[in-house]
Symmetry: C2
Subunit: 325 residues, 2 copies
């Protein structure tokens, strides 16, 4: 583990100062109805209200605005077909530097459109790991762009940690901080911040049953890869990596999982009572609260609403929508 | 006009003090994308985030908490199948007094469920004006409940006016305040407040083409009734009455209208870029901005997002949804 560059609390503080001019201090949403239903006090931190619709703008801005001038001129690069790609493109445009994104040509058109709208330059590749790695190596060699990994990067984790800091300030204190877990960037940032700022606050992760590598790793005490994950919570398909596993294994108190049906029901419930548009990944925490109410009853629970980018023509409760099992 | 009890600016201030403990100071949402698209600075005041999901909690709370003890013991009564009924029930429950609601038996089950969830007592009637008036007279005679009209009531208008006051404080000033118009309660409250607080700010109303009694009345300079209005913006079906016409005729600068298709497109655009759940009525202002961009370009525009109660199983852009023409 000595080779890992583990971000510190001071890195998070520096990140917050660096990114604050570029991000929104998103509001907290509450619902008396959901509080009554769960017996808990729920504080929903609306990262879906960031301009590109996801918390990943925090880590992306921290990486982009932390570059020195020489590197900035060459820009940044990543491979992602999700919120990280659009958030990194958005952040790069804010600084006026190039952003190259390698994306499988099978990625949804809407995701490609969003990246391009923010000025990202897309290189398409075949939908395989080897093709992606090859395309990415070529793009990086050509551009010299700095690689910003979606989550296994200390700058990114320090950036994501700023969300928990705001959440503690805005709520005046919490018993539990709850966030979805995919690659583990948000959970790691939350652990990083709360370990110092509020060590008495438990950090709990929420994961789809059908992409439960974090749950199984947590139980086993060692990093276990996913075997063909498949979930409607498409932001959570990616696996933990060594940096995020470090935070999960040392600071997370518990990981709960929810089924596809439970995730969809929670998503609809949140839309109805919070009246916010959140994506399936962001509904996993509420699904886990409803499934394990005893763990949350009587507690003050902060929940990171990680993103709000959904295809409104293919909502999961619509007939014919994909992904429901 | 001398018989009308027209609310004053001081009534609005008193209302704000009265209701502040019971309502939310809702946030302002912004979108760089929508600003670029329209060339305006748009400030969306999220009244859909009130607990019962609509601005009508303001007027309802002002009426309910303004009752003396003797009247409060007898409660309140209204006829409505929309947000006013649920908001009045919610406000009455907050004070612990009865709320009777006369509703056509054909009203959607979801609306009845919401009123009952907030403790409202429903009396069903046949879906005709005469049946409603008869049922309401009977309920009032039996209960002695104070009649709180959905909009043609000075207490209600003074309550709705508190929204414009918050909006001016939160935005630091606006060139235009824009809200949908149905019965005219929100627009009247906005006129009431801004005539004193910000007389330089123009008040503009947005109305469905297919329920355009306010537009036609405004053009004619006299109150003209609707002729069989029919719109997906179901909160805007009701006509202006004498009190709201007073404010519209004396203080509104302009009324724009939008087609059903324009309303639906604007609703979807708002969901996508603001990531909030707003009801069709609340999308009419954005539809009018997109239709008349020259009137808004370069301006600071405050928009009241009036409500967020929609049937998520019957979104207007879904196949088979009703109301699209």
């Amino acid at each position: 583990m000595t080779h890992m560059n583990i971000p510190t609390y001071n890195d998070m503080l520096a990140a917050h100062e660096r990114i604050e001019p570029h991000i929104r201090r998103t509001p907290i949403r509450r619902s008396e109805y959901l509080d009554e239903l769960t017996g808990a006090e729920l504080f929903f931190k609306c990262e879906n209200f960031q301009e590109p619709g996801a918390f990943k703008i925090r880590g992306a801005c921290n990486a982009v605005f932390g570059l020195d001038e020489a590197q900035a001129a060459k820009g940044v690069a990543t491979h992602s077909s999700g919120n990280h790609a659009s958030c990194l493109s958005y952040a790069a445009r804010l600084r006026g530097i190039p952003c190259n994104v390698v994306m499988p040509r099978t990625a949804p058109q809407a995701k490609k459109d969003t990246v391009r709208r923010y000025g990202g330059r897309i290189t398409e590749c075949a939908p395989s790991t080897s093709a992606r790695e090859e395309a990415f190596a070529r793009v990086q060699a050509e551009t010299g762009g700095d690689f910003v990994h979606p989550y296994n990067d200390p700058r990114v984790i320090a950036g994501q940690g700023t969300c928990a800091r705001e959440m503690m300030e805005q709520t005046g204190g919490l018993d539990i901080a709850l966030a979805p877990i995919g690659g583990g960037g948000m959970i790691s940032g939350t652990c990083l911040t709360l370990a110092t700022l509020a060590p008495e606050c438990r950090v709990i992760a929420a994961e789809p049953e059908q992409a439960d590598d974090a749950y199984r790793s947590f139980r086993a005490g060692r990093l276990i890869a996913d075997d063909a994950p498949k979930t409607i919570a498409d932001g959570l398909l990616v696996p933990l990596k060594e940096l995020t596993w470090h935070f999960v294994s040392t600071h997370v108190s518990e990981i709960y999982t929810a089924s596809e049906r439970e995730i969809i029901d929670a998503m609809k419930l949140a839309w109805k009572h919070l009246r916010i548009v959140l994506e399936p990944s962001s509904a996993v925490p509420l699904a886990c609260i409803l499934k394990h109410p005893e763990a949350f009853r009587g507690k003050r629970v902060g929940i990171v609403v990680t993103g709000g980018n959904v295809d409104l023509d293919r909502l999961p409760w619509m007939q014919g929508a994909k992904g429901v099992t």
